[in-house]
């Protein structure tokens, strides 16, 4: 009920007039006192409640005042927005303050996105990005129609389409583009998408294997998880790309990017297995026993009772692993694959753009990109968590 309803509430007709000091109508409710609404009250409530809080507020305020103006000056006010080479971003007698050299980012934006992918074929990468965006929205948006089809599209149709688009299919008139030409955001997205999509199912299987009573499944899972977790990702990538060619003949050598993708996917799966196992262990035994008492088979018990609850508990950790994985993909640079960060590294040393602020601008651009991606992931996860938590609050 709102205040509008209160004033329009029908006043019962009075039979006797009553004393003169009694109001004949219902009074309109008065607004809440000034001290509990509005920005001042909010600040008093949240920023200045006690001596510690007041001190913290002042310190943080000063820190922000110290950091933000120079940052804005660098990133916006003194920034150079257009130009063709280093001449626009160097100090001259007329230009004594040079901020971010966005002209450099603009000039190399295509390189940061596609790497060395042939210019005439870049529309294929754009189509891939669009298809991926459609898949992500379809799968993750709860209001989207036919989400079952969305799952099929994302896990079956999309990988096949992407492979045809990106690698090429001469029988369709799409010429082959070797993966050594791929680079930039394309590689970062491909690596993380493959890692994310493969690691969850594989991780669940490994986690179930590790808790299984079958000795073979258990042993294999434990060895795999402990072995992969025991070595750094760099080592896995290095083994895959440097040692492998020494041991297998030329014609058996898989593609360099594929080797890295397999390495990343297996590595992420091992971590995912431990995350899922934590969720499995958090469930009370009664859930397993109840399911078994219902006469459910092992897979029915897992898919209908255990996993839905276990995965729900672990969502924050799963997303945490995903975010870590997304950023870890930068390590593919160690085997000479040009991911997004490496393209910035490679472009910033170009003497055509040799100017004082070019490196800093490149890194700022990378920071913005990674922040946006990770923030989107974590805010979606927060949304899912909130939705699932509603069930617990009932």
């Amino acid at each position: 009920m709102t205040t509008a309803d209160a004033s329009s509430f029908p006043t019962p007709p009075r039979v006797d007039a009553g004393p003169a000091y009694v109001s004949r109508t219902t009074l309109a409710p008065s607004p809440p006192p000034y001290s509990v609404v509005g920005p001042v009250a909010w600040m008093r409530e949240h920023l200045f409640t006690g001596p510690v809080n007041i001190a913290l507020t002042i310190i943080i305020g000063l820190l922000l005042a110290w950091i933000i103006p120079p940052f804005l000056r660098f990133a916006i006010f003194d920034a150079v927005w257009s130009g063709a080479n280093r001449d626009v971003c160097i100090y001259t007698p007329e230009r004594t303050a040079v901020g971010a050299c966005w002209a450099f980012i603009w000039d190399r934006a295509a390189y940061f996105t596609y790497g060395s992918y042939p210019v005439a074929e870049r529309w294929r990468v754009n189509v891939f990005f669009a298809l991926l965006a459609i898949g992500v929205v379809w799968l993750l948006n709860l209001k989207a129609p036919r989400r079952d089809l969305g799952g099929v599209y994302f896990f079956v149709v999309l990988p096949i389409l992407s492979y045809i688009l990106l690698v090429g299919a001469p029988w369709l008139g799409l010429r082959n583009v070797e993966t050594n030409l791929w680079g930039g955001i394309l590689v970062t997205i491909v690596c993380s998408a493959v890692g994310i999509v493969v690691s969850l199912p594989l991780g669940i299987l490994l986690a179930l294997g590790r808790r299984s009573t079958m000795p073979a499944a258990k042993l294999i899972s434990v060895i795999f998880i402990e072995f992969v977790r025991g070595v750094p990702l760099i080592t896995v990538l290095f083994m895959a790309s440097v040692m492998l060619p020494l041991f297998v003949p030329d014609y058996l050598q898989p593609d360099k990017l594929l080797r890295a993708l397999v390495g990343i996917a297996l590595f992420a799966a091992a971590y995912m297995a431990e995350v899922v196992r934590a969720g499995l262990q958090a469930l009370p035994r009664g859930q397993y026993e109840g399911a078994m008492a219902m006469g459910l088979s092992y897979w029915q018990m897992m898919t209908l009772v255990v996993l839905p609850q276990a995965l729900k508990i672990t969502i924050p950790n799963i997303v945490n692993t995903y975010i870590g994985l997304f950023k870890d993909t930068t390590l593919v640079v160690i085997v000479g694959i040009f991911d997004f960060l490496k393209t910035i590294e490679a472009a910033r040393i170009d003497p055509t753009w040799g100017a004082p602020t070019v490196s800093a601008t490149g890194y700022l651009y990378a920071a913005i990109f990674y922040f946006i991606c990770c923030y989107l992931m974590s805010s979606y996860a927060r949304g899912v968590e909130a939705r699932l938590a509603r069930a617990d609050k009932r």
């Binding site: 080479n85 280093r86 160097i90 100090y91 040079v98 000039d107 190399r108 295509a110 390189y111 596609y114 790497g115 060395s116 992918y117 210019v119 070797e178 050594n180 030409l181 680079g183 290095f238 790309s241 440097v242 060619p245 020494l246 041991f247 297998v248 003949p249 030329d250 050598q253 360099k256 640079v333 160690i334 085997v335 000479g336 040009f338 490496k342 393209t343 590294e345 490679a346 472009a347 040393i349 170009d350 003497p351 055509t352 040799g354 100017a355 004082p356 070019v358 490196s359």
Partner: protein
């Protein structure tokens, strides 16, 4: 000792495989694949770096293109495999690349123990110094008592200490973890001089706020001959890579360049005739058509053109020829005669 036998058998098999892949004719392999696989830098100003379209450019890159031009008559038939300093030699040994042109210093240990051969020197580099002009120093020997910014854990740091000990000069070296940090510290005035390989000094100088206030000193205190390398055991391929380099040098010496090479086909000069294949059958001896050098010059250019375009006056680096001038112009670049 069963495991020992197994292990040695495994190693034997690996060695056989490696040897097997190396002894097959690289030229035939390359021709069959239809492109040359060239181990390149992951990004080094002037030597190998991607441009705005993602095409590789640079002095080392030009050398790869020159080999492709000689073999295929098409300088674009190169697949660049960017290699880090760590995995470059393994990539060559395992046959992942046919030739390694990645600013690799030619040393005896690399030449003898890594199973590879250096075919020559396409850039004579060495460690140099950069100082502020306001310091009024004209030679590194005047740096007595100076502090020098240097990157940690590199041979650069070692060379620096050796040089000053040998010349009985006192110095204070200030070390930093990354090259960026080192440059920033130098710019902030934490040291009087900055040292790294001379080719790198020119690129770093451009990143300073006032490049014109800094000067690269003439002394080169270490020998860093950078050159292409091929696998042991394939002399034909070794000869091809070596002579592609020499052909570019010879062309510069004879004044044959990309623009006039067609006109030069009619030249009466016997040296030019032998170079361009209008006389003699030197290409056949290499396993290539006789116009192999013509293709190189037509499609890529002679050594001087390549140098000026990538690191010299035609590039923002503006490195002087110095040691890389021809032997008859005061440098060290000398090609054996084609005859």
């Amino acid at each position: 000792m069963k495991t020992n036998i197994l292990v040695s058998a495994a190693f034997g098999a690996v060695a056989a495989l490696v040897a097997g892949s190396a002894s097959a004719g690289t030229l035939d392999n390359v021709k069959q694949k239809g492109f040359l696989q060239c181990g390149s830098n992951t990004g080094l100003a002037g030597f190998g770096q991607p441009d705005a379209q993602g095409n590789w450019t640079g002095l080392d890159v030009d050398f790869c293109r020159a080999i492709a031009a000689a073999v295929f008559n098409d300088a674009s038939k190169v697949k660049f495999v960017p290699l880090s300093a760590k995995d470059r030699f393994t990539a060559l040994q395992s046959g992942e690349v046919d030739v390694l042109v990645r600013n690799t210093t030619w040393t005896i240990s690399r030449d003898t123990s890594l199973g590879l051969n250096f075919t020559g020197v396409n850039y004579y580099d060495g460690q140099g110094f950069m100082v502020r002009k306001s310091l009024k120093v004209a030679s590194a020997l005047e740096l007595n008592g100076a502090s020098v910014c240097v990157q940690q854990g590199t041979t650069t740091e070692l060379n620096l200490a050796d040089y000053f000990r040998a010349n009985k000069i006192q110095l204070k070296s200030v070390t930093f973890a990354s090259s960026d940090e080192t440059l920033k510290a130098y710019e902030a005035g934490r040291c009087d001089a900055f040292t790294t390989d001379a080719s790198g000094l020119y690129a770093e100088r451009l990143r300073l706020a006032q490049p014109d206030e800094h000067l690269v000193l003439p002394e080169i205190i270490s020998k860093e001959p950078l050159g292409p390398a091929v696998r042991h055991g394939d002399d034909q391929w070794f000869d091809i890579v070596k002579w592609v380099g020499y052909a570019q040098l010879t062309a510069e010496e004879l004044g044959v360049d990309q623009k006039n090479v067609d006109a030069m086909l009619k030249s009466d000069n016997p040296d030019i005739k032998r170079l361009l294949g209008t006389e003699g059958k030197f290409g056949e001896a290499l396993g290539l058509p006789n116009d192999w050098a013509y293709r190189v010059i037509k499609l890529v250019g002679n050594y001087g053109e390549s140098f000026e375009r990538t690191v010299g006056q035609g590039s923002p680096l503006k490195i002087k020829r110095g040691l890389n001038a021809l032997w008859n112009k005061g440098g060290l670049q000398y090609a054996p005669p084609i005859r």
